[in-house]
């Protein structure tokens, strides 16, 4: 038997090096992303449009791109008490700092209780604690500036599939858009380790989405390929995402609403409202290449943009 086995001739190191270089060519590192995508398509003065959730939301609403309904906006400490009055009978809302990053300062409120509210995870939040939090937002505790505004929105009820992926928080669907074309897409699913947040570097799972069909095909958790969510047990790959066509339409609509040529659009699919924009990022990260197993260069080529 052994004599029949053949081994492939070992390639010369130079050939292997050249092949590696060819594969490397379409990979976008930080330098190339900045020069060829961010600087080339986004003017720095427009970054605040993406960084400020309230400004962004107003731009999107103006041209009819769906967003979560706004309950109230607080512009400073002097409005905190009026906001609390407005929220007194409310349930299921979300408090966000307008220019926070990475989910800092966001509180999700569930049911009303005797003393105040409780979060979906059951943590009690008394009225005075919410007042303290609102005040902290206005002091800029969660932003790089000295002050910030408060955005209060209705709480999203994720679509059944996203709810099955992870029930304790919100999965978001990211679409990278360049000059009106979708390039790559992934779903970010929270885990216990990520503290219920969808951020990949905090331990969230990235699920690659085939942009032409809206089907998931790969999932990476901390750099390891997984098929099911290690905690919820839900199958992550081979799933058809709900309302895919609408999701793409909404993403491109959002991209056209802001003067940015290259951006990451984060979408959430609500079971009542359908896809809504969560936020927009003027400098989306590069990890999506690893998640999708595809370089930005090859995605550009497929989209006819290279």
């Amino acid at each position: 038997m052994n004599t029949l086995m053949t081994t492939a001739p070992r390639e010369h190191w130079l050939q292997r090096w050249q092949k590696a270089r060819e594969r490397l060519a379409p990979l976008f590192g930080m330098n190339r992303r900045n020069v060829e995508l961010v600087y080339a398509h986004n003017e720095r003065r427009h970054y605040p449009l993406a960084d400020d959730k309230i400004v962004c939301k107003e731009l999107l609403q103006a041209i009819g791109v769906p967003v979560a309904p706004t309950i109230a906006i607080g512009r400073g400490l002097f409005e905190v008490d009026a906001l609390l009055e407005q929220l007194r009978e409310r349930e299921d809302f979300v408090v966000k700092p307008a220019s926070g990053s990475g989910g800092d300062g966001i509180i999700v409120i569930g049911k009303r209780t005797e003393a105040g509210w409780q979060t979906p995870k059951g943590r009690q939040i008394a009225v005075h604690e919410l007042r303290q939090h609102l005040a902290n937002i206005t002091f800029g505790s969660f932003s790089k500036e000295m002050e910030d505004r408060i955005l209060i929105e209705e709480r999203i009820e994720p679509h059944a599939l996203y709810h099955a992926f992870w029930s304790d928080g919100v999965c978001d669907l990211r679409v990278i858009v360049l000059r009106g074309r979708p390039l790559l897409s992934m779903v970010r699913v929270p885990t216990h380790r990520s503290g219920g947040r969808a951020n990949l570097h905090q331990g969230g799972i990235g699920v690659a989405v085939d942009i032409s069909k809206g089907t998931t095909y790969r999932a990476l958790s901390q750099g390891k390929e997984v098929e099911i969510h290690p905690e919820s047990g839900e199958l992550l790959i081979g799933r058809d995402l709900p309302d895919w066509e609408t999701c793409l339409k909404v993403a491109l609509g959002a991209a056209s609403a802001v003067p940015l040529g290259y951006l990451g659009v984060d979408i959430c699919v609500d079971r009542r409202w359908g896809p809504v924009i969560l936020e927009i990022n003027a400098r989306p990260g590069l990890e999506i290449q690893n998640i999708c197993g595809q370089t930005l260069g090859s995605a550009l080529e497929k989209a006819g943009l290279s």
């Binding site: 594969r23 990979l27 590192g29 930080m30 330098n31 060829e36 197993g293 370089t295």
Partner: protein, 520 residues
């Protein structure tokens, strides 16, 4: 457009470089900075009711050595004078009564050069010498020129006949060939001869005795072999009067008619380095530090854009010039680390600024003090977080912590006699404060993991910056040809448009380019 700018930025410095070397005759060898030694002598003594007198030799200028920045410090009770004494200068401290535990410090800077003489082979031993030289042919108590044993030895080695060069060579070979042994105190010429072994002063006395016996004037020289650090050992070698020059020989360390550049002469003649009144528990220690200064030839030869002269006219120290000129190079190193390798750092200038600051404190102790101060900041952060203060007051408290930890480090280091660490105060407070602020912000905004990664990256890049910014070759290049800074701009323009994959990203995206798990 970019390439045109690049071409200009590369052409100009290249052209001026060639012009300077060919037309203006810049000598690269001259540009090499010289080592300047800062020598400190620390003497301790216990006084008493009686009169105390301490004397030592202060170096004088000669063809080999240039002495400058001489200074001394001693308690008020001790009166300091410098007296000329023959060929030498004596530094004397006098006082009464003197308390116990007195410390005298005496310091000077020395620029030294090596010498190497060639003795003409046909040179004869002269019949007579000028009167001033004649005393160096006379016998003394420890240099027994007339002793029969000296005469016999001279004859036995054949140094009593023939041309001067041959005689001196034979005497040198004979004394250099003696066994080495450390003796406490003085060994006279005869003892060295009888024992067949000696330390530096015995060998030198025997050399002088033999040279004088054969008619060549010779004298002892006492001094220090300088190297960075502390030591008590002084050294002796000799000078012989040959064809109108005092030519050095060191039979102990084997230098024939030559001396290397780290020999410092303190006195000439058969003298003791220290003379002091008895019963005072006298002790001493020499400490030597090295630093680089531009050579005078180089300073004179530079005619265009001579930044050295500019700094000299403004009375700014050469070390500052080095720091200023090397900063852009350091920043370029940071850019390479950040954009080509992908090492995260606190800002772009900061690692270069820290590296420049380390020049004042030394690499190791500077790093140690930086780590101590940042540790203090980390501890302060733990407490500050609980208080939930506003941003600016928090940072003001941080600055206070930085200052207090620097002072504390200096105090503790002084108590522990760690002189290098006590110099943490030399570390620019602004650089220390900005580093701490950055660390605090990254820890607060991006968590302990990111903070520690950025901190580690910063320390690594600081090390690289220090090595490049402190390399003599780089300093010579930049201070001799400041126009290379245009090349630095050119390199940054190139790197500013460079879209290659960073080294660390090669690892991060390894599955993609190795073709594993890639989707086609």
């Amino acid at each position: 457009m970019t390439s045109a700018v690049l071409a200009i930025l590369i052409l100009i410095p290249t052209a001026t470089f060639i012009y300077k070397v060919t037309v203006l005759d810049y000598r690269i060898a001259n540009i090499l900075p010289q080592t300047e030694y800062r020598v400190g002598l620390r003497m301790t003594l216990d006084g008493g009711d009686g009169r105390v007198r301490v004397a030592t030799y202060a170096p004088v200028d000669d063809v080999r050595q240039t002495i400058s920045e001489e200074s001394q410090s001693a308690p008020q009770v001790l009166h300091y004078t410098i007296e000329a004494e023959g060929l030498n200068r004596q530094a004397i401290w006098l006082g009464a009564p003197v308390p116990e535990g007195v410390e005298i410090r005496y310091e000077f800077s020395a620029l030294l050069s090596a010498v190497d003489f060639t003795i003409a082979p046909d040179l004869e031993v002269p019949e007579s010498y000028p009167r001033a030289v004649r005393e160096f042919l006379q016998p003394t108590e420890d240099i027994q020129v007339d002793a029969p044993e000296i005469r016999e030895r001279l004859h036995a080695i054949g140094a009593d006949r023939g041309p001067l060069g041959e005689r001196i060579q034979k005497i040198y070979d004979d004394t250099a060939g003696l066994g080495f042994r450390t003796f406490k105190g003085t060994t006279d010429a005869l003892t060295a001869l009888r024992l067949g072994e000696a330390s530096c002063n015995g060998k030198s006395r025997l050399f002088v005795a033999l040279a004088r016996a054969t008619g060549i004037p010779a004298r002892l020289v006492g001094g220090l072999v300088l190297q960075a650090g502390s030591k008590r050992t002084s050294h002796q070698w000799i000078e012989a009067y040959i064809a109108g020059h005092w030519v050095p020989f060191d039979p102990t360390n084997h230098h024939y008619a030559a001396l290397p550049a780290h020999y410092l002469a303190l006195y000439r003649g058969d003298e003791a380095l220290f003379r002091h009144t008895g019963e005072i528990n006298f002790d001493y220690m020499f400490t030597t530090r090295e630093r680089l200064v531009p050579s005078p030839e180089a300073r004179a030869s530079f005619s265009v854009l001579n930044v050295w002269d500019l700094f000299a006219r403004l009375h700014l120290p050469f070390s500052l010039l080095q720091t200023v000129l090397m900063l852009p190079i350091g920043a370029l190193v940071v850019v390479l680390f950040r954009n080509v390798i992908g090492v995260p750092t606190f800002g772009t200038f900061l690692p270069a600024l820290i590296a420049a600051s380390l020049a004042a404190t030394g690499l190791m102790w500077g790093m140690v003090s930086l780590v101590i101060v940042t540790l203090a900041v980390l501890f302060a952060r733990l407490g500050l977080q609980r208080l939930q203060l506003l941003h600016s007051p928090t940072l003001a408290i941080l600055l206070t912590v930085v200052v207090m930890s620097m002072l504390g480090t200096s105090l503790v280091a002084d108590y522990l006699d760690l002189e290098e660490l006590a110099r943490v105060a030399y570390f620019p407070i602004a650089v220390m404060a900005i580093t701490s602020e950055r660390l605090y912000l990254v820890l607060t905004e991006r968590g302990p993991r990111a903070g520690m990664i950025d901190y580690g990256g910063t320390l690594l890049v600081v090390l690289a910056c220090y090595l490049v910014m402190n390399s003599t070759a780089m300093q010579v290049l930049v201070s001799g040809f400041p126009e290379v800074l245009l090349l630095v701009i050119a390199a940054n323009i190139y790197l500013g448009r460079w879209v290659g994959v960073r080294l660390i990203e090669l690892w991060r995206f390894r599955r993609l380019w190795r073709g594993e798990g890639a989707r086609t």
